[in-house]
């Protein structure tokens, strides 16, 4: 009971006494007062309840409006990063670098600016447009004026600016010209390893930032890994060796120009780990300014086309060693077994001939060194189509190679629709089955490493990655001896390199024409080699498209005259870089001094 301190008695004498004097009932006065008092109490309680309800309502409204306001703010505000979270090692989340096997940079990032225009802030659109056209010669002033004075409020001018251009645009000094910070992908080595790296471009773009996404090559295959902020500090280490790649590309380019070839490819692969130490395809491009895919002409003529992994060609006589190796593995022949080489073999309308007549019989090893189609076809007949198919599948010739670059899926081999006995015979000397030079390198690596299938990779490895055994060590060793024989006294005699014993097999395949027949005078010349032959470490495949040696009286197109000398030059240049110990026969002993070698 509060407030009403003046308490009215239930039976006030001032009213009772006169009432009694009048002879009235005093009970009614008391009841009246009791009723009043009850009313007062009730009124008091009501007021209190009301005020409590009000307070409660105020609290509820307050709390709910706080929640509502916060929700509104969260939904309307720009997302911002948490300030107080410990960010650990990665402070700037950049696309990770790509480095070669020795840590030299192949791809990195640079800060730059994008230029955009907010037309409503332009002070003098005409002057600005004219000045911009001076800074960027590829922009047309008339078009810019039209854009600046039209309905557009916002437009991008350039996605990447050089520091000079930034300064020049600053000098124009118009407040409508704005810069957005950008991170751009930089390939400091230019064209080097262009096909492997592929390229990157901008994905979603905002004013303050833009997404960098890989568009081809390893940049695309490893896009998620390269963009992962948790791994942005760790560079992606490829198996490529920068200096070896440079030497290979240089020699290959020189050879291609000298022999008037349309294109060339070279693959250098470690036979134990499957690492591709170098992978070159010419013509190439600059990944800093990746050209657009061609809209007309053959895609294989575009510089974007990677001949080494996408170019599916008949690889010619380089295949012969597989038939011979399999026959030796199955115990059908030994290196000295005599094989019937009388020709031509007639098979329906089809004839199998040799380049020269090798007489009635040749030992198996000479079938390889002399490269007899007939001899190999006879050996394939002994093997049979089914077993051949299985063997080539084990070596990886029937499927595309799962290399870590997006283009590799385009290198699916072309197999005969029906693997008949005739197919087996033609495939044994490299016709009727088309595969990429990369397939060939993987096949030769299996011979070179002592008989294990090995899968090519572009990622640096720390230990051998030998797969299933596909032939015995003895078979592999004998096959290697035959391949060495091809260089010492066979079709690849120009493949001898001072200090390094090279083994290998040439292959010259006619190019198929658009009509499905074979082109006359147009060949793919391939040399698949292994070095050093006594302790095989690397496989080198060199392939030239329409190469022609015109130094003689008539043009020579066989691989022995085109691909082999180039491969020999490449091996002579790169073997010292790879740390392969040469067999030294140095006549000038007095000139030798010690150097420090780290």
């Amino acid at each position: 009971m509060t407030g009403n301190s003046l308490r009215i008695p239930l039976r006030p004498l001032s009213r009772i006494l006169p009432a009694r004097a009048r002879g009235e009932n005093t009970e009614s006065i008391e009841r009246e007062n009791i009723r009043r008092r009850h009313e007062e109490v009730r009124e008091d309680a009501r007021l209190r309840a009301q005020s409590r309800l009000l307070v409660l309502a105020a609290i509820f409204i307050g709390l709910y409006s706080v929640v509502g306001l916060r929700m509104g703010m969260l939904s309307a505000a720009e997302p911002s990063e948490l300030r107080a979270v410990s960010t650990g090692s990665s402070i700037i989340a950049q696309r990770a670098d790509i480095v070669d096997r020795k840590g030299r940079i192949l791809a990195t990032n640079m800060d730059t600016y994008a230029l955009y225009v907010e037309t409503e802030h332009l002070v003098d659109p005409e002057y600005t447009a004219n000045q911009l056209a001076l800074v960027f010669p590829d922009l047309k002033a008339e078009k810019l004026i039209k854009d600046f004075t039209g309905n557009r409020k916002f437009m991008w001018i350039k996605k990447k600016l050089s520091p000079d251009q930034v300064q020049a645009v600053h000098d124009i000094g118009d407040p409508g010209l704005r810069f957005g910070p950008r991170e751009m992908r930089l390939y400091p080595n230019g064209k080097l390893a262009a096909h492997i790296l592929g390229g990157a471009s901008f994905g979603r773009e905002g004013v303050d930032a833009a997404e960098l996404i890989g568009v081809a090559g390893v940049e695309k295959t490893f896009d998620d890994r390269l963009r992962d902020p948790a791994q942005s500090g760790q560079a992606l280490a490829l198996s490529i060796d920068l200096s070896v790649q440079a030497a290979v590309e240089r020699v290959l380019y020189g050879g291609m120009k000298l022999l008037n070839a349309r294109g060339a490819a070279a693959i250098l692969m470690d036979v134990e780990t499957g690492e591709l130490v170098s992978l070159a395809s010419l013509p190439d491009f600059d990944p800093n300014h990746r050209p657009r895919p061609p809209v007309q002409g053959k895609p294989s003529d575009s510089p974007l086309f990677n001949r080494a992994v996408q170019g599916v060609y008949e690889l010619g006589s380089t295949f012969k060693i597989f038939a011979v190796a399999q026959a030796m593995e199955l115990g059908l022949v030994a290196p000295t077994t005599m094989v019937d080489t009388r020709g031509p073999i007639r098979w329906g309308k089809f004839k199998i001939r040799d380049f020269h007549d090798y007489g009635a019989k040749l030992p198996v090893w000479e079938v390889i060194t002399k490269s007899s189609n007939i001899g190999t076809a006879r050996i394939a007949q002994m093997i049979g189509a089914e077993r051949q198919q299985e063997f080539l599948a084990n070596l990886g010739f029937t499927k595309e190679i799962p290399l870590e670059m997006i283009e590799a899926s385009g290198g699916k081999p072309l197999l005969p629709p029906k693997w008949s006995e005739l197919s087996a015979m033609t495939i044994s000397y490299g016709h009727g089955l088309s595969a990429t030079p990369l397939h060939l390198a993987a096949g030769y690596a299996a011979i070179a490493n002592g008989g294990y299938a090995v899968q090519p990779t572009l990622i640096k490895q720390t230990q051998p990655r030998l797969g299933d055994r596909v032939m015995s060590e003895k078979t592999a060793r004998n096959a290697m001896r035959m391949l060495r024989g091809v260089v010492t006294n066979g079709t690849a005699s120009m493949g001898e390199v001072v200090g390094y014993s090279v083994a290998g097999k040439t292959g010259t395949a006619d190019k198929p024409s658009a009509t499905g027949r074979y082109e006359k005078d147009k060949v793919i010349a391939t040399f698949a080699s292994v070095f050093p032959a006594n302790d095989p470490k690397y496989v080198l495949v060199v392939s030239l498209d329409e190469a022609e040696d015109t130094t003689g009286s008539e043009p020579r197109r066989t691989a022995g005259w085109t691909a082999v000398p180039i491969a020999a030059e490449i091996i002579g240049r790169i073997a010292p870089l790879l740390g392969v110990r040469p067999v030294v026969e140095n006549p000038d002993a007095a000139d030798i001094t010690k150097v420090n070698w780290n």
């Binding site: 300030r83 030299r104 140095n586 002993a589």
Partner: protein
């Protein structure tokens, strides 16, 4: 008694509020400092990456080959070949030279009359 208790509560609440305010200010300052440090580190890293990119650009094989060709007469730098290697036995050491030859395994032919340091 009640009023004393009430007063005490008010004083405690005020004290706590002051303390919380102080802590908040300190935290904000600390966060601002870390942000600045991180911005500095970020700037330093991006500087570093520019320097690395520049280093890679200046050391790109094409440029080095062109430079070595350009200064061939002074530097005598040419691609290393098998002929540039020799066996340790071929080194013309003085007859009284005592040295454990097994510790060296790589040697190179020097240009005659040319200083081969480095």
């Amino acid at each position: 008694m009640r009023s004393v208790f009430g007063l005490l509560t008010v004083v405690i609440v005020m004290g706590l509020a002051y303390w919380a305010y102080q802590e908040n200010i300190k935290t904000q300052a600390a966060i601002a400092r870390t942000e600045k440090l991180q911005a500095d580190i970020g700037a330093a890293r991006s500087r570093l990456s520019v320097l690395r990119a520049e280093w890679a650009f200046l050391n790109r094989p094409d440029r080095l080959i062109n430079l070595s060709n350009q200064y061939l007469t002074q530097l005598h730098l040419a691609p290393l070949r098998a002929e540039n290697f020799g066996e340790i036995g071929q080194v013309d050491f003085p007859s009284d030279f005592k040295f454990d030859l097994r510790s060296i395994d790589v040697i190179e032919v020097a240009e005659r009359g040319h200083n081969n340091d480095g």
